[in-house]
Symmetry: D2
Subunit: 425 residues, 4 copies
């Protein structure tokens, strides 16, 4: 039972968490020039300024407006400008035009953040007890939401900078990634009846539930991610010109785009280079390959005679290892090679791992009620599940049951490849 | 053990099957004018003439050229013109331009068919015993392939005729579909560990194998398909204007296309009409709704508070009923209402049933070797599985493990909706 | 003054002209297979069947319906299907979808023609005298309109056949074009005040009037068209890769399309070939270059240090020569080299000659009243004037003041190049 | 003859002019926030930052690099980034991506300007006499070029601000435009032989030459521009839904875009508003209509039974009035009504006036040599001539022979309508 005292300390802790997350977001923008905040290089990428405002709009819309009577909306049109895709909340500014807005300025967006922050702290501090459970629930979602956008901020900044012919670096002081060879080995997975999905007290999104039984066939997972060096062999073996290696949609996409390598690779003066958040660097062979699409991951696996893991295989295996790895806090902001060890390596951090599982509802899935139910459920078509987080994910944000999802042609997240194989009876 | 005699009678039987299938294809074209054979109304639709030639090219390419030394190619460029998507065989004429070819004429295509038929009968009759197993295997695939194109012929003719403002009828003498109300009831499905996938001696495509274990959650299936009358309620409740009912991709697609009803519905003089292979008819309320996309099927299910079945649920349930129903041989060429009875109705025939399962590889799946391996495997992305066959499917072509697959926005096949629901513990 | 008798013989003559033109149109289609009648290879090209019906619709709409009370419309929807662009007449079937109509069949279109012909002959024969002047005026337009479509029939058939990988020939019995070298010489044009535009009693379109004064600067015209051999030098001098030779819009278009030569040139086995109505032939060096866009004509002229003529220069010069040349009646259906002679050669026939004049209204221009006023006037923007007719133009259709017009990127008509140059004082 | 002293004072004057123009450009940007400098709302619009850099690149490329040996390039990639369309100078950054560049920052671009300015002043001051004539010639072009971009800066800023749902104002302190009714009257133009084109000592672009004779038909021009009130009548008479009023290309464009009014008109709460550089204002009926395309200008003229003037008619008439009017220096930055007076009003300033003349070469036209020849000549296709300058044109930039040109669908410049009519003999 919840005493008055418990609640007070819980609230104080939440104010602390709230402020911590909010400050982190702004710190990620510290290296940016004002001009960097407004750019949208492609429809999937949002301007940093938009992220800063949108996450604030989320708190304003789902917490301040419904629960804080005295709340005064910061600007009448920000609801229109900074709603991402919540159709039940109202109309929204077209996504492809986010980069066409010079106003509000960065300073005005920061004022918006401060305005929301002040009201949020007051709300957490003084909301009536009867509202508290729902406020608490939504606040946790809001903080997780902002953490997701922290990751997107970094991947979008990477895209913005990499698209500029001047190739500016986001930061010049990043940790250098570890780049050592580690042998690939095969780790047996569990077979038969297992359970996946979230359980227990911690936070999870609706799409990770309910926990349920699945049946695994005999299989093995590679102990580590595929490396740049290994992927380079695929390129050198004409992988990008052999249709028999590709899914039909992937081959069509490749023909349309002219892909010849992962997204940020650059062939210059007969040398492969890689664009990173630390600027342009020579391609390091023992680092994990990253920024590949599902089509490329799948074609690579076919070329090497393997396959990608299912999300159930991945999740079941991940329970054997702690949620640790090269996350954002390592301040490398790039995947690195693992430290050689027994068992599965790099399951968390480094790169999101493409699975062969299409993103769909777990049996018995129910989306949250109302507009918040649009968060995850309506995307359950045409996308693939990725697991494990990346080098720009906040560690606190991730867990074994976490399901990320992207379209099979997308590459601008830190996406990588872990191989799997069937075990014949 | 295979005696000489067994083989001779097997071969005679196969010649008979071959001729039967080939003649059926041509009979389907009997009602067409010469002008009808060349039209491609949209990129998914192929001209009837193209179908007639392509299925012949299949036999020529995979049987006559490799196995019949004395075979003389009919035309040097037909390989280019009538290869559909087999990249390993060679380059191909662009799919969107199939309707731009007045030549070869229909008569020339018929000559091509006769040329192939003569050689095929000779091959079956006289191929050396050492080649027989592979010839036999490929021949069965070729016949199934041609049956698939028989269905496509009808759905493509329907599209071609429906697109023409004059609305010509394909045939004026079709069976009138049964149109009686049958109550919807809910049939419990099996739960726990079950097996799906093809087993046994009959033919099946590679994508139906291997048979494997899956785990089913407690669920129920509707006893029959959703009707036009039920779907009309969804339309009248503004189903096509409420984004909260739709998958995000579906809603986007709807915005782009302006969909307001199933593909062949027509609102004229305040009455709903339906374009059919027998011409324009008033919409019959007790017939199954058909020509809906996955997006519409999914939105309808959400509106009614249910969901679509998974392919495993569907396949498991289908084992309880015989493979019988309103197939092409009923000569109705349109779905109809079931005859009221216990248990599951309409599992086979009438409409292909959208499942919530994305089309992907079964655990342990191996595509066939060589170009024939492109038949099914390379499409395992971005598509949804449909089950059960339709009113234009040859009955002999279908079975419980049969997996059809289309993109979620496609509607020109006879696609329908069976509802499912979870059973809470 | 018009006597009864004069009128009777005038009408008899017109019936004869009418029947003559109508039969000619059908004769042009004699070499076609039924399948050829329905193809639309690109939006500018119409299926032969459509041409046959559209010109009949023109008589039905502008003559039979307004002037023949007892006329019974052939089909209620043909007005929709075969209206080309007359907005004031009503809505129309979308132009890009003309190739999607298998129905009406060719036989039905021929019935339509016969139906219209019968009624037209009756109308001409028996229309009341008070209607006669307007009927006469419209009939002449209708016959000229059908002659234009006779030319389009041939250029569209050429496109349809050339687009087919089998490269069928329209006819195998065509006159072989004369292919002899003739020196290029320069002929002084008139300078100062001259008059252009139609005058006198014969028929002309509204856009050729009124006759008016223009002022010509000192200039010269080339005596003949540019040849394939001359154009080949431009290609060999990298003409298609040097932006400084091209108009900005032309360069952009070239980048989009990948043009490397005129429309029907084909480089095969290290030899240039040309697709013609008589099939594929080796490129003949002394024939006029044809099927070039305005952009190519202009770039070629710039490369050679000359320019294209203005339409006033062309028209003024053309008065010095008779309206004779390689027209459709020569039955060559391809441009040929001229017979060496003094003065200007090839001014009529062979190729439509691109002028540097944008298509616009002559001073004092008034479009015809009503829907017939849409014939020419509404296209006076973004197009260039061409003069002189081509090898597929009926000779009776052309005159010195005739203004043809196409978009600068269009190439599927028989378009060629005559050079001009300024004379410095 | 040019003495040493003359040259020195000429140079001093040019340094003054140079600095004046350069400072003006920067002053136009004073009201902008840093964020405003980077936006490209549509492919025709360039970010203000890009304009600032591009005009400097022009001086660097055409003056500093060829003529100042000691010049040190500011940045190796600025040639790529800030070349607009000079193909002979080298490759260039794609125009549609100008808004994707956060770097160089505004401050860096200002440094670039200062760097160029310093070198330019030194060049003007100390270039050897033998280079002086060419330097002088190019410098004058460079200054005129920058003046053109001053106008584009304002029209692009207007577009950027108007596109933003927040509708920020560029300036809040602008002169209010005069808004009084003035009757439309008709002024006879000269007829017969006249001369147009630039002559004399002042600067003109190559496309204004050579001066040459043209022949004018009897005609009259309206004494003033068409007003908002008059244009509103056209809208109320369903002008935007009547195809018979429109050029075919215009009607097609209207169908594609859904135009219902001039570019910056906004119908809100049953009132017409107009977006201006001073923010949103009620539509003033006596102000000239502006931001209309050629298609709209032409359709309006047809509706009212008139036509647009030819450029020769316009230029000849303009010689009767001084080059004075509502230019940028009036600091209204919006067209206004004229002061009632005899003769032609508003010939200069207020709005660029669409003419019925397609933009093409004058007889005897020769483009400048080298890359500077790309300035005007390569655009002589598909565009229409506009005359007279606008309310955002620097007065010093304009003259009677000045030819501006835009595509017929473009509207974002201050384009307006002056009517003309034929006089029948």
């Amino acid at each position: 039972m919840h005493t008055q005292q418990q609640s007070a300390s819980e609230r104080a802790e939440l104010i602390h968490s709230y402020q911590h997350v909010r400050v982190e977001t702004e710190q990620l923008c510290a290296p940016l020039a004002v001009e960097d905040f407004g750019i949208q290089t492609t429809v999937e990428v949002s301007p940093p300024k938009w992220h800063l405002a949108h996450v604030s709009w989320f708190f304003e819309t789902f917490l301040l407006k419904p629960f804080r009577r005295e709340y005064r909306e910061f600007h009448a049109q920000f609801g229109y400008l900074f709603n991402s895709y919540y159709q039940q909340v109202g109309t929204m500014h077209p996504r492809p035009e986010r980069g066409l807005l010079s106003r509000p300025t960065v300073a005005e967006v920061m004022d918006y953040r401060a305005h929301v922050d002040e009201a949020m702290c007051a709300l957490i501090d003084s909301a009536p007890a009867r509202d508290w459970p729902e406020i608490n629930r939504r606040l946790i979602i809001g903080l997780n939401h902002e953490q997701q956008h922290q990751e997107l901020l970094l991947t979008d900044i990477k895209h913005i900078f990499s698209y500029n012919p001047l190739l500016p670096a986001y930061r010049g002081d990043l940790q250098v990634p570890r780049n050592r060879p580690v042998s690939m080995r095969w780790i047996d997975g569990k077979q038969g009846q297992v359970e996946i999905g979230h359980q227990g007290a911690g936070f999870a999104y609706d799409n990770e539930m309910p926990r349920h039984t699945v049946w695994l066939q005999p299989h093995r997972l590679a102990n580590r991610l595929v490396t740049n060096g290994e992927y380079l062999e695929f390129i050198r073996d004409e992988g990008y010109t052999r249709p028999e290696l590709w899914l039909a949609d992937g081959w069509y996409h490749l023909q349309q785009t002219g892909w010849q390598a992962p997204l940020y690779w650059l062939h210059r003066d007969e040398q492969w280079m890689e664009k990173t958040l630390g600027g342009l660097r020579p391609l390091e062979l023992h680092l994990p390959v990253t920024h590949v699409s599902y089509y490329e991951a799948d074609a690579y696996a076919r070329w090497v005679g393997k396959r990608l893991p299912t999300e159930a295989e991945w999740e079941n295996a991940s329970n054997t290892v702690p949620v640790q790895g090269n996350f954002r806090t390592a301040d490398c902001l790039h995947p690195e090679s693992p430290i050689a060890a027994e068992g599965l390596l790099q399951m968390f951090g480094d790169c999101w791992e493409w699975t062969s599982s299409a993103y769909s509802a777990y049996p018995g899935y129910r989306a949250d009620a109302g507009a918040l139910g649009e968060y995850n459920g309506k995307f359950m078509c045409n996308q693939q599940v990725l697991r494990g987080g990346s080098c720009v994910t906040p560690q606190a944000h991730i867990r074994a049951s976490y399901r990320n999802f992207f379209y099979p042609q997308e590459r601008w997240q830190f996406m990588g490849v872990r191989l799997a194989e069937d075990v014949r009876g």
